[in-house]
């Protein structure tokens, strides 16, 4: 059974442990600005929302990549960017309607969530279960994914 990151803004306190854990896992240093999961702040409502790639079925990023730099990890379903192939053209960053694949000026390539190979650090770091890694078919799975993907007319996953 494949698992997915389930993000629940209602439980997020904005502590940014996930951003710390992600950047530490990926870069070996605490650098939240390079985290692949981001916590957005809604100061009007006093709310926070963690957000990252849903590993969507449409995979617009993967389809549009000119050089086959994005592939599916068969074990986890994650869409992975191969740094040695990515030329940094950024066409994936405009194609992804969720804005979750980003260009990194320091590397000249793009970066996105890869589910840490099936054991995501953000979920382990989150103290409030605002981020959990659970069965994809579990109840309530991914409002974000269900709603967002269906609202896009170009989504026609079969």
């Amino acid at each position: 059974m494949q698992k997915s990151l389930h993000l629940d803004p209602a439980k997020c306190t904005g502590c940014l442990q996930c951003e710390m854990a992600c950047s530490y896992e990926k870069l070996g240093e605490f650098n939240p600005s390079r985290s692949l999961i981001k916590v957005f702040t809604f100061h009007e409502e006093g709310r926070f929302a963690p957000y990252t790639c849903t590993q969507c079925d449409e995979a617009w990023c993967m389809r549009t990549c000119p050089v086959d730099a994005i592939t599916v990890d068969m074990a986890t379903g994650a869409k992975l960017v191969a740094d040695d192939k990515c030329v940094g053209c950024k066409v994936c960053t405009i194609s992804c309607p969720f804005g979750t694949i980003n260009y990194v000026q320091e590397t000249g390539k793009v970066a996105k969530c890869d589910l840490c190979g099936g054991d995501p650090e953000c979920a382990k770091a989150c103290p409030t279960e605002a981020i959990v890694f659970i069965d994809s078919n579990a109840h309530g799975y991914d409002r974000m994914k269900a709603f967002a993907e269906k609202s896009l007319p170009s989504a026609n996953a079969t």
Partner: protein
């Protein structure tokens, strides 16, 4: 069922793969006429700066097609007989099809000026062009780039990185006039000039003349520029000539319906060759961009496989990296009459952002955007435009601070307010 795809660019390759996935038993033939494995034109700039070799431009590994049981033929289709459902190839042989996809892409066009046929005047469109450009565009050589449209600007950076003395000549009043407005285009021009590029806007090349080993490029402003190489990037046209007499309806490109089918049943068209619906205007246009080519390829293939998938129109969008200054445009980036818009303009920091909203019942719907000097979460602009999300109170918030597009999107899709 014999499925044939004409054209092995990104559109044709995605279509072949989608067909294979939808129908493991289908008979799929992919025909491409370039003497190299299927590759991406988009990767050419990275080949020119020697970030990758030629194999790095290939769309897939060379074994991929065999593994997917896709029959790849290196031939040119010379004609289509839609009554008999038969194609004729360049060697005179014929192929029968049941379903046909035309994904033959586009080709560059050049203005009819004196000297345009000289040997060192090239387009930058194919791998072969890239090889010829690489052979001349060396450290210190004089290069004139004709056209600062999207493709011109895409290769500009590669040329500068090769160390050439670069002049860019654009007829329009600013760089990338079909992607950026006066302010953003003006900033881009200033940026290029600061990086040592000689940019001449509102200027036309009137003649290219041989002069010793090199050339002289004359402009309508009376300037004469020395050039070892002239690169013409003045526009593209769909590859439709081989369809003449086939009965397939062509205008600027092959005209298709909302299933990407042509006027003839079982013949589809997709990618740079297709004149298909633009999401924002509802008009049928040739977009000639990679994301549209691959989205088309997928939708056309699903319809060929017998599914019924509607093409709702593609959002026209571009991203450009010009010597480190990144720009984007999406949808109706110039706005709609009577629609609200909000702008950030900080010329000293080379930052620009413009969000455009619709009118009437779409007055709180994002319909277009352009940016300069931004990169994070930019794709969500496509998401907001394409899902036509009513931003409600977030419209006002964006009018105050347009950089909060991601928050606006999350708030509208995750119904944050309701979960409290």
């Amino acid at each position: 069922m014999r499925h044939i795809i004409i054209g092995a660019g990104p559109c044709g390759v995605v279509a072949a793969e989608t067909l294979r996935k939808a129908n493991p038993m289908a008979d799929i033939t992919l025909i491409g006429d370039e003497p190299v494995p299927p590759y991406s034109r988009m990767a050419i700039p990275y080949l020119l700066i020697e970030n990758i070799g030629e194999e790095g431009t290939y769309l897939r590994s060379t074994e991929h097609y065999e593994k997917q049981n896709i029959n790849y033929l290196n031939h040119r289709v010379s004609s289509v007989d839609a009554d008999e459902k038969v194609l004729t190839l360049d060697d005179g042989s014929t192929l029968l099809y049941d379903k046909l996809l035309i994904a033959s892409g586009s080709h560059p066009i050049s203005p009819p000026i004196e000297g345009i046929d000289l040997p060192n005047v090239h387009s930058c469109w194919t791998l072969d062009d890239a090889r010829q450009i690489a052979a001349i565009a060396k450290q210190g050589s004089n290069v004139v780039l004709m056209g600062a449209g999207f493709i011109g600007c895409i290769i500009l950076e590669a040329l500068v990185k090769r160390g050439v003395n670069l002049s860019v000549i654009e007829m329009g009043s600013r760089m990338v006039p079909r992607m950026l407005d006066e302010k953003a285009g003006g900033l881009l021009e200033k940026w290029c000039i600061e990086k040592g590029v000689n940019v001449l806007t509102s200027t036309k090349i009137t003649a290219i003349k041989e002069s010793g080993d090199a050339m002289e490029v004359e402009t309508d402003g009376g300037k004469i520029l020395k050039a070892d190489l002239v690169i013409s990037a003045t526009g593209v046209r769909s590859n439709i000539a081989f369809l003449e007499g086939s009965g397939i309806d062509v205008k600027a490109g092959v005209v298709v319906d909302n299933k990407l089918q042509t006027n003839i049943a079982n013949i589809y068209a997709a990618g740079d060759v297709a004149q298909a619906k633009d999401f924002s205007t509802g008009e049928y246009e040739v977009q000639a961009i990679q994301p549209t080519a691959t989205d088309h390829g997928r939708i056309a293939a699903l319809n060929m496989a017998g599914q019924s998938v509607e093409h709702h129109g593609s959002v026209n969008m571009n991203v450009l990296d010009t010597l480190g200054l990144i720009s984007h445009s999406f949808g109706l980036w110039m706005g709609v009459e009577g629609g609200d818009s909000v702008e950030i303009y900080n010329p000293d920091a080379y930052k620009y952002m413009n969000l455009r909203f619709g009118i009437d019942e779409e007055e709180d719907v994002l319909v277009g955007a352009s940016t300069l000097g931004m990169t994070q979460h930019i794709g969500v602009v496509r998401g907001l435009i394409e899902s036509k999300i009513h931003l409600k109170e977030w419209k006002e918030r964006l009018m105050q601070d347009p950089t909060r597009i991601m928050e606006a999107y999350l708030s509208s899709t995750q119904e944050l307010d309701n979960v409290i």
